[in-house]
């Protein structure tokens, strides 16, 4: 028997413990491979998200996968070695040289590593095309695009193989070293005696709650008015607070909680709690780090997945906000206008539903407690509360035509169009140009002062909405007046800055790419808005890529979190074997052992999960505050619940696996 066959034999015997490790690393390799293959696929090169190329996002994500895998593999590996100290000691006692044992473990680590790399690449190849197509679909979001041609290059495979091989080599070396450094005595006394009973400190417990509270406060103060860059610093600071707070929480508060349980006879001296609580307390200090990592990772994963999914799914609904018309141009010459009309009549490839040609006059106005704070075509505009601000004026008939022509939705949360059949003289509809209704909430019923031909004139606000009738880019706070009022008060057109808009709405806005092209040839670039298709691409390319990466990374994180806890339990089971033997002799029945073990492991799984959920709720609230800019209510809670549900199910799977594995060891069936 040589080392190689011995190593193989060891792996075969430990299939169960190796299985989840193998699964997670294989999965990581597959994801890495898929991300690489997307990076090297020329079909994706033309996609951009804002200013960044899609491929770059995938490159960055591949690095995240790699870094994460590195940490995971290292952690899992060191757990493994620890759990096998006794076995190693026996080899050593039997006269195997340290170098030989080290070689054996080196080989084992490497065999499993290479195995998972090859399997990972195999699955990556197998599903790579499918996932590329899926990504394409997500990024197109229903818009027409080229079929993805079959594309297989050597780079992704070679890179994945090379990179992960190095990673596993490093780990193999580290396991070799850890054996080399430990003495036989250390190896033999694997059972730790004298592990100090955990002490908790009041100060740290309070501090942990304070830190987490502070982090929450920072997150909850976020809103979409500030740019992403301004949020970067506070969010990093808050994240650091959250991490330290969570760690302290597990180091202290949880120990405090458990010692309270221990101090309470009514709880502690119950058959089902006694053993599990004492075991938990015994391990809590060692587990605290693990718990914080799992809690933070889970919180991050759940938040990321729910936001990305909810954002993506609500994208289609938000299209109306960005592009109510399929094509919109402003202040074009009459000759161009004639050409456009000609094109509309001649082009048989598109079915034009409506064309609206209207004039918007801008004036000044003031409203109690109201201010504008927008960032659009007109640049960043912020007025003082109650002071004059620029507003657009529209006659009611034009407003109704726009609503009708764009088939604007009457949406919930006062973000949609206001549907009224008539507007009395002296009244107006108030279309808030802001992104949130913080300032216009109380506006209905108030009078707004508008500068007219005849000086300042007050109009009573009949209804308020955040509806952007011309699309977000050209949106400005708009006042809709009764036609008679408009005719009376805005006769003198020279007094006002005015814009003439021409909006075209076609039946299938995503299929009219050629039509937009021809229009673009007539309309100068600074006189037109992006077409519906362009907006669509902009949004879907970006969020399609995000949702794709988000889901993959999320599943990877989840798998890693699950298998790390799984490992830890298996390792502890080996440690606890003797204890359960004693308990069995003293007269603990099989059923009682099962219940006790299930509870003990449930606590291990649930403690971090509960904290993760708490973090998630806050982070999702912060997210909601930030995304009200897209004026459709994103159903983030619904999707978050779905994500939490799925997460919980998979997590529960790991729990059951852990309980099974643990009991198997305890009953010496493994």
């Amino acid at each position: 028997m040589n080392y190689f066959s011995m190593a193989l034999n060891n792996i075969r015997k430990k299939t169960e413990s190796y299985f989840s490790y193998f699964l997670s690393t294989t999965f990581a390799v597959s994801i890495f491979y898929i991300f690489c293959s997307i990076y090297y696929n020329p079909a994706f090169m033309k996609f951009h998200t804002g200013t960044m190329k899609i491929e770059l996002i995938f490159k960055a994500s591949a690095f995240v996968v790699l870094a994460f895998s590195g940490v995971f593999v290292h952690y899992a590996n060191s757990l493994f070695i620890k759990s096998r100290k006794k076995e190693i000691a026996i080899y050593s006692l039997l006269g195997m040289k340290k170098k030989e044992i080290g070689n054996l473990l080196f080989l084992e680590t490497l065999i499993v590593g290479i195995g998972s790399v090859i399997t990972g690449i195999f699955f990556g190849c197998l599903f790579g095309r499918f996932f590329s197509m899926l990504l394409m679909k997500l990024m197109l979001g229903g818009a027409p695009g080229n079929e993805l041609s079959f594309h297989l290059t050597w780079q992704p495979g070679v890179i994945s193989f090379g990179v992960f091989l190095i990673l596993f080599m490093l780990n193999a070396i580290s396991s070799f070293r850890s054996i080399y450094r430990s003495s036989l005595m250390e190896l033999l006394s694997a059972e730790k005696t004298g592990e100090v009973a955990p002490k908790f400190s009041w100060r740290s417990a309070v501090l942990s709650v304070l830190l987490i509270g502070m982090a929450y406060a920072v997150f909850l103060r976020f809103n979409g008015d500030e740019g992403a860059l301004q949020l970067l610093k506070p969010s990093i600071a808050a994240a650091v607070l959250l991490i330290i707070g969570t760690w302290l929480l597990f180091q202290n508060a949880v120990i405090f909680l458990l010692s309270k349980c221990r101090g309470n006879d009514k709880i502690y001296l119950k058959t089902n709690n006694f053993v599990s609580i004492s075991q938990l307390i015994y391990r809590i200090k060692a587990n605290a780090n693990l718990f914080s990592v799992i809690a933070l990772l889970s919180a991050f994963t759940i938040t990321m997945m729910s936001t990305v999914i909810s954002f993506y799914i609500s994208l289609q609904n938000s299209m109306g906000i960005y592009a109510p018309y399929s094509y919109l141009c402003r202040n074009v010459d009459d000759s161009v206008k004639e050409d456009i009309w000609k094109l509309i009549k001649q082009d048989k490839s598109v079915q034009v539903d409506a064309v609206t040609d209207w004039k918007v006059q801008a004036t000044q106005g003031a409203l109690d407690g109201y201010k504008t704070d927008t960032n659009s075509e007109y640049g960043k505009v912020e007025s003082a509360v109650g002071e004059n601000f620029t507003l657009d004026v529209l006659p009611f008939s034009v407003y109704q035509k726009i609503v009708k022509d764009t088939a604007a939705k009457e949406a919930d949360g006062n973000k949609g169009a206001i549907y009224v059949s008539e507007l009395k003289q002296g009244e107006c509809l108030f279309l808030d140009g802001n992104y949130s209704h913080d300032y216009s909430d109380q506006a209905a019923g108030k009078n707004i002062q508008v500068k007219t031909d005849q000086g300042e004139k007050a109009f009573r606000i009949a209804q308020v909405s955040l509806y952007k009738c011309m699309g977000a880019a050209h949106a400005r706070t708009t006042v809709v007046l009764a036609d008679e009022d408009y005719a009376d008060f805005f006769r003198d057109t020279d007094r006002y800055e005015s814009n003439q808009y021409l909006g075209i709405r076609v039946e299938k806005p995503l299929a009219a790419g050629g039509f937009y092209e021809r229009l673009n040839q007539m309309v100068p670039a600074d006189h037109r808005d992006r077409s519906y298709l362009e907006y669509h691409q902009l949004l879907f390319n970006m969020y399609g890529a995000y949702i794709f990466i988000g889901i993959f990374l999320g599943v990877l994180f989840l798998m890693a979190a699950g298998s790390i806890i799984f490992y830890k339990q298996l390792m502890e089971a080996r440690d606890d074997e003797g204890r359960y033997e004693i308990l069995r002799k003293i007269g603990m029945s099989r059923r009682e052992v099962t219940v006790s073990v299930s509870r003990q492991i449930a606590a291990v799984f649930l403690l971090p999960f509960a904290v993760a959920l708490l973090h998630c709720v806050v982070l999702l609230f912060a997210y909601r505050n930030m995304v009200y800019t897209i004026a459709v209510d994103t159903p983030v809670v619904t999707y978050a619940l779905m994500v939490v549900g799925v997460y919980f199910l998979i997590y529960a799977g790991f729990y059951l696996l852990s309980v099974r594995g643990y009991l198997k060891v305890v009953w010496k069936e493994g």
Binding site: A197, K266, L269, K270, G587
Partner: protein, 255 residues
């Protein structure tokens, strides 16, 4: 009244494929009455451990019967046996078998917690038993913080806390120095005399055995002979040595 009745007990070990049968117990019968302090001695391989394991319900006999407190062990399933163990039996092992994750107090409480005693009763019982064994001051210590003798006393406290019908002690002094051994044995004698605890002690050490009231000698899976203490301990000790000399085999274990 007999607490333990062993009737024609046989245990045969056979290798997996049915060949090479070896007999560990070859028809042993005896009785232990309430309040007795019985020792079982015999050379290595005589079947002491097998016998104790069967009485402890951890192992099963091939033939014969064990009746403890009127209950036949053979008729019970694994979980019933577990409950039986914690309610009717108390154990003292050579290597203490205390849980290192628990304090002394918790270790001693364990059988009562398993039997779903009320918390007030548990506290009261623990105080009572530990006072008797002189380990009250050590209740909040962990096993690894104290000496072997103290650990074995905690283990004795755990064995008797549920007022078992029978206390089984398997080489309880095996890992102790002579002073700790004597102390522990005095404790056991005390428990036997003042609390009328019934104790069955397995040992190959004549000094330990001399604390018993009656000794059964086993050789090759059968009862070889039986002696009663009658007089004082010293005389009994020499009596035991004599029997062991006749038994032969492992004289080197006598000192």
């Amino acid at each position: 009244m007999s607490v333990l009745e062993v009737i024609d007990l046989k245990k045969t070990y056979s290798s997996k494929h049915g060949g090479n049968r070896s007999k560990a117990l070859n028809g042993i019968s005896f009785q232990v009455d309430k309040g007795e302090f019985v020792g079982i001695m015999g050379p290595s391989g005589a079947g002491k451990s097998t016998l104790l394991n069967i009485i402890a319900t951890i192992d099963q006999a091939t033939e014969g019967e064990v009746v403890i407190g009127g209950q036949k062990l053979q008729t019970m399933d694994e979980d019933a046996l577990a409950i039986f163990r914690r309610e009717k039996l108390g154990f003292i092992f050579q290597d203490y078998n205390l849980l290192d994750t628990m304090t002394f107090r918790e270790n001693i409480e364990l059988p009562l917690v398993l039997s779903r005693e009320r918390p007030e009763n548990i506290r009261k019982k623990v105080d009572e038993v530990t006072k008797r064994l002189g380990i009250t001051a050590l209740l909040d210590k962990y096993p690894y913080e104290v000496s072997g003798g103290q650990r074995q006393r905690a283990s004795a406290a755990r064995a008797i806390i549920s007022d078992p019908q029978l206390v089984l002690a398997d080489e309880p002094t095996g890992a102790l120095d002579s002073k700790s051994s004597a102390e522990l044995l005095r404790c056991l004698t005390d428990l036997n005399e003042k609390n009328t605890a019934t104790i069955l002690l397995v040992t190959h050490d004549a000094f330990t055995a001399s604390y018993c009231k009656r000794i059964l000698f086993i050789k090759d899976g059968e009862i070889f002979t039986e002696i009663d203490r009658g007089g004082n301990r010293k005389e009994f000790f020499y009596k035991i040595l004599k029997v062991l000399a006749i038994l032969g085999g492992d004289n080197h274990e006598l000192l």
